[in-house]
Symmetry: C2
């Protein structure tokens, strides 16, 4: 019998993390009798005077939001990191090591209206979001080693407010995930003399089987080593190390790619598609002068849904204790997304 990636389980290597993923495509055939999620609420008002993210609203700490008309950024009222805290004592026991963590957490609203999401915003409005991301990266990147921009979308992703927004957590330390990517990209560059992800994007453009959507500056793929069912990666065609290095044209075309990708996501199960997403680029702060040729700026989308608007993939027992496992191949997921219309189902 010949090997068929869509029929036969195998493992795939993730060169960015240096680990493996188990692909068991035959498993999509099993029935699902487990937990189903609540369908996403569709009756969100454009303005809710009780919603602390809306313009003109008084937040729990007494501050009043301005009547903002595009984006609006403020420091999280319950931040996971504060700028000034005492440092833990040093210990020489290898089993009980702690270290200081300084940082700040900001919330960024994308738009004054609560009933919009990125795919329903105009490219111009998304471009304004990108401009604000870059402003924040420049500001926080002066001081902090790592500035993580991320969006938790949908209640199933722990998002507690439907208003379109993301978060920005900046830290004095380099977190695990970018540290892994830094090491592996550095090793690849040392070995091959080219940035890993530029080699990767060029090969994906040749192979074509994992492409989701592309334009003159950007390429979206379901990565060969994807973990989440419809995980995607947004890659630049030009070698860019940080979001702050983008040209005006690249910012405009990034808005186009974001709108088209998130529209396809919403169209997949005809719902406001939940995900966590974020941007990764070369570290900042004390690393701003470092040689970061090995780094390629990219975006990561991690959506939880597997079968429908209400059935997600559970990353539990085996995944937590042993290794991530997926139920359809990256190529199958890419094909499903690729053929979807680029007009949002609500406007169709």
């Amino acid at each position: 019998m010949a090997f068929q990636p869509t029929e036969h389980q195998h493992v795939r290597f993730n060169p960015l993390r240096g680990d493996w993923i188990l692909v068991s495509p035959h498993r999509m055939k099993r029935p699902w009798a487990g937990q189903v999620e609540k369908p996403v609420g569709e009756d969100i008002p454009a303005h809710d005077p009780k919603n602390p993210l809306c313009p003109g609203v008084v937040r729990p700490n007494g501050e009043v939001n301005p009547n903002y008309e595009s984006t609006f950024v403020f420091t999280n009222d319950f931040p996971a990191m504060l700028e000034e805290v005492p440092a833990p004592q040093e210990s020489n026991d290898p089993l009980f090591q702690s270290a200081p963590a300084r940082g700040t957490c900001r919330v960024m609203c994308f738009h004054p209206k609560s009933n919009l999401t990125l795919p329903l915003m105009t490219c111009q409005e998304i471009k304004t979001v990108i401009d604000e991301w870059i402003k924040q990266m420049l500001d926080l990147g002066k001081k902090y080693t790592w500035v993580q921009i991320f969006e938790n979308k949908g209640a199933v992703m722990g998002c507690s407010n439907p208003h379109p927004h993301c978060q920005i957590w900046a830290s004095s330390f380099m977190p695990n995930e970018p540290k892994l990517k830094d090491t592996n990209q550095k090793d690849y560059f040392a070995k091959y003399g080219r940035p890993m992800l530029m080699d990767y994007v060029n090969k994906e453009l040749e192979k074509k089987e994992r492409l989701v959507v592309t334009n003159d500056d950007w390429v979206v793929v379901v990565p060969y080593w994807a973990v989440w069912p419809y995980e995607t990666m947004v890659l630049p065609r030009r070698h860019v190390s940080r979001m702050t290095d983008l040209t005006e044209t690249e910012k405009t075309s990034l808005a186009d790619i974001i709108k088209r990708l998130t529209t396809k996501y919403d169209n997949l199960f005809e719902c406001s598609f939940p995900y966590s997403m974020g941007w990764h680029g070369a570290p900042t702060g004390p690393c701003l002068q470092d040689d970061v040729q090995h780094w390629v700026f990219h975006g990561c989308y991690y959506p939880p849904l597997l079968r429908s608007a209400t059935v997600k993939k559970f990353m539990v027992g085996y995944e937590m204790l042993a290794q991530a496992q997926r139920d359809l191949t990256a190529e199958q997921a890419a094909e499903k997304l690729r053929v979807l219309p680029e007009v949002h189902y609500k406007n169709a």
Copy 2:
């Protein structure tokens, strides 16, 4: 100001995985307006003729379950791994690496009754479960490098059947998580000449601040580097590398520890406490003859709940893209669990 671990954010090192965790204890003060889980159903019948895990029931594939009276093991009807599949072609491209994955997946029922869980079973019944685990480890361990026993408990952990059961996935490859633990335990042993987790358990017994429950052979702690709010680790007092090395006395006292720990878990929020748990020990199959002195057999419990029976911790945006973050210290979680009664709330 002096550093207070319960007040001031910091990072802690996990020597088993070689990564870090962000601890932000002041964050427990924030209000929660996000998704709440369905309370766990309490009206499960002891026997349901439609439940494929019950004795005497016809499974979807036409097989009839025996009228089992203690444990019952069968091959998963929808396994993520099959024993015989063609291998993928080798590639010399570092960015597109796949490898063969052979294995098998079994389901193991703990008890004939659907309305029982481990804390509600007798120590003798739990001992029978442990004996069966060891039988399975011996059987599958002859052939397979890694035998992962794990229990997904509760719908929130993707468990689709309330009948008390676990799964056993055996593979020809060493999965990521045990591979990391193997490397880090090996490095520690090379450096200090003692198994990492024996040093660790002895230090925890001295410090006492993270102990949850102990007996003559076993110690349960919330590890210093815990990620999940009420994560625990079950450690032996004697240096044991594999579950199959346990003495009769140690098996009996492991049943006692499991009953006491899971009873405390249920008592925490007065619900059938969801978790994913599993056992880690030295690899098997082709590794059975290797020197595995660096390995200490241990159990890992990863429960998702944070605040109540219906509010879990979401490991999303920042956690997926940057680093795991927790909202109370390991010491606070251990204290909460330690002071809970050891009589189950349903029997109190």
